[in-house]
């Protein structure tokens, strides 16, 4: 069974479609900026935020609000639903079919509602939002939320892949989304994980990550044969079994996930246009990934990270970064690692602050997250026959 991409969307401060976002990345643009008093937090932060006025305008155009059970949506609900609606607009898929499964990838969903005087606890749960979206499209199946920290967006795609491979479903709509809030920003700040300036993936000057808001959707469908376009070849997860909030020094889980995917997809270093990595710009993550890539014998493969354009978009990251890398590789480009300066990890990596060319058609996406979890997935492009 072949797992083909049949629909896509990205909602971010850089645009409301994958094409707009890809063009922004090619232009080297970013919406990351410094805020000295964001939400009255007692520290400055460097984040990428969606503007409410534009979001509301696009939302009103794309979403029929009379089909929603409530008067108004939260920002999280808006971007997740909007992204799904836009992704489905471009496909012939009937989302109300019982053969279609909706999945949401999110780390914190509507958690900002906890700041309300009397929080609606059910609405805080991400599965509530997943249900809202599935019902909006008239889908009869119980949706699921993958909440596996920062790797959620790849895990959800892996779940989708297996749904189609096993014949459980014929198509899966995989939506990744997270919005920022004092909860998330102060949490990362308390972990000393944030940089108050532009992040510098893999660089000696890196001081931490930037956070960003986005939603991204990929729609996969099962097919009998490749007939042009992108295919997901394999996906794997592995745990470091080391620490709940720090990566393994040996890159154990990331290395295992990477090796498993290369083997399942029958890919070698020579087949890969690039490794699109997590590259959060924290000291430990980037070092760990460099070690894992080196152990896997992939030091010669071009590596790139997209956090310098968007920041870390949490539950959206795995989908957003996969989609942008698909567009890049399809056009023969390995995007620049924005913010990259001088190498600051102990293993050699093929990284660049300017974009490169490639004639290869496959890539591997890597992510790692709290809880010691790691994921890898492989994708390939087939030219139309």
């Amino acid at each position: 069974m072949i797992v083909r991409k049949i629909g896509e969307n990205i909602i971010s401060p850089l645009g409301f479609s994958v094409a707009e976002n890809f063009a922004a990345v090619m232009d080297g643009r970013s919406a990351l900026q410094r805020y000295d008093h964001l939400w009255d937090l007692p520290f400055p932060c460097f984040v990428s935020l969606l503007a409410d006025d534009i979001l509301d305008e696009v939302f009103a155009q794309a979403v029929d609000q009379s089909r929603l059970p409530m008067k108004s949506c939260t920002r999280f609900e808006k971007i997740a639903l909007l992204s799904a609606a836009k992704a489905l607009q471009s496909t012939p898929l009937d989302p109300s079919s019982p053969r279609v499964l909706f999945m949401l990838s999110s780390t914190k969903g509507n958690v900002s509602l906890l700041a309300d005087a009397a929080p609606d606890i059910k609405r805080v749960t991400p599965a509530h939002t997943a249900q809202l979206i599935a019902r909006y499209f008239g889908n009869p199946n119980m949706p699921l939320v993958v909440s596996n920290a920062c790797i959620s967006g790849l895990c959800a795609q892996i779940e989708a892949y297996r749904c189609l491979q096993s014949g459980q479903y014929d198509a899966a709509v995989v939506i990744g989304a997270d919005v920022l809030s004092p909860f998330i920003v102060s949490g990362f700040q308390s972990l000393k994980a944030l940089s108050d300036e532009q992040c510098h993936p893999f660089s000696s000057v890196r001081q931490g990550l930037n956070l960003g808001e986005a939603a991204a959707t990929v729609v996969y469908a099962a097919g009998e044969e490749p007939n042009g376009g992108w295919r997901m070849l394999a996906g794997a997860m592995a745990n470091d079994a080391n620490h709940i909030s720090g990566p393994s020094r040996t890159g154990e889980g990331s290395y295992r996930a990477l090796m498993s995917v290369l083997q399942s997809a029958a890919l070698t270093a020579e087949d890969l246009a690039c490794l699109n990595v997590h590259g959060t710009s924290t000291l430990y993550n980037d070092e760990m990934e460099a070690v894992a890539i080196h152990r896997a014998g992939l030091s010669g493969v071009p590596v790139n990270a997209l956090k310098g354009y968007y920041g870390h978009t949490l539950g959206a990251a795995g989908i957003l970064e996969t989609l942008l890398t698909m567009h890049a590789v399809e056009q023969g480009v390995v995007p620049a690692t924005r913010g990259y300066e001088e190498i600051g990890v102990t293993m050699p990596l093929s990284l660049s602050s300017s974009s490169g060319k490639t004639s290869k058609t496959a890539f591997v996406k890597l992510l790692s997250g709290f809880g010691g979890c790691n994921a890898a997935a492989a994708f390939t492009f087939d030219s139309c026959r």
């Binding site: 958690v111 119980m142 596996n148 308390s190 972990l191 709290f370 809880g371 010691g372 979890c373």
Partner: protein, 188 residues
Amino acid sequence: MMRYEVLHTVKLCPSYLEVDGNRIAEAGGETSFLTDLYRRLGLDYPKFFKMDILSKVGFLASEFLLEQEGGERFVPRADRAVLLFNRYSSMHADQTFQETIAHPEDFYPKPSVFVYTLPNIVTGEIAIRNKYHGESNFILLPEYSEQAMNQAIERAFLAPGTTSLLTGWLEALSENEYEASCSLITVH
């Protein structure tokens, strides 16, 4: 359809613990039932006391399952995945963390609380304890559903190398409201 064998089951709630359907312990002491169970296991694992409620309940459920399984433990392995489900994610840790940032004059976000505001941290705790390098995942559902969980279990066995699962429903809303209904499953 795949054929599973359920090796062992555990049910832990505020009033009792059952292993393989047998009542092992009942709450009633002066101290916390979870702490009582930790002591009953005779563990020396101080990390337990740093965990949030969700992780404590999941950790204890996994310990009773694995004690029942017997055999050699703590040898690195990748053939066992940890796959847990619930509805309310890490709600208790979320509420606890929210308290620390709710008042500008008393703003003290704690990293030790924040790390538990992800439901999959408990899967990491179980993986660390047992040196499991296999898959770990946490899936949220709008409500308890055997069908949705069984489908996810079937998918988990599609991973190359996964031959057994520590899986089940794990919800913990407070010190007095929790449920672990977990099992060890293998596939033939």
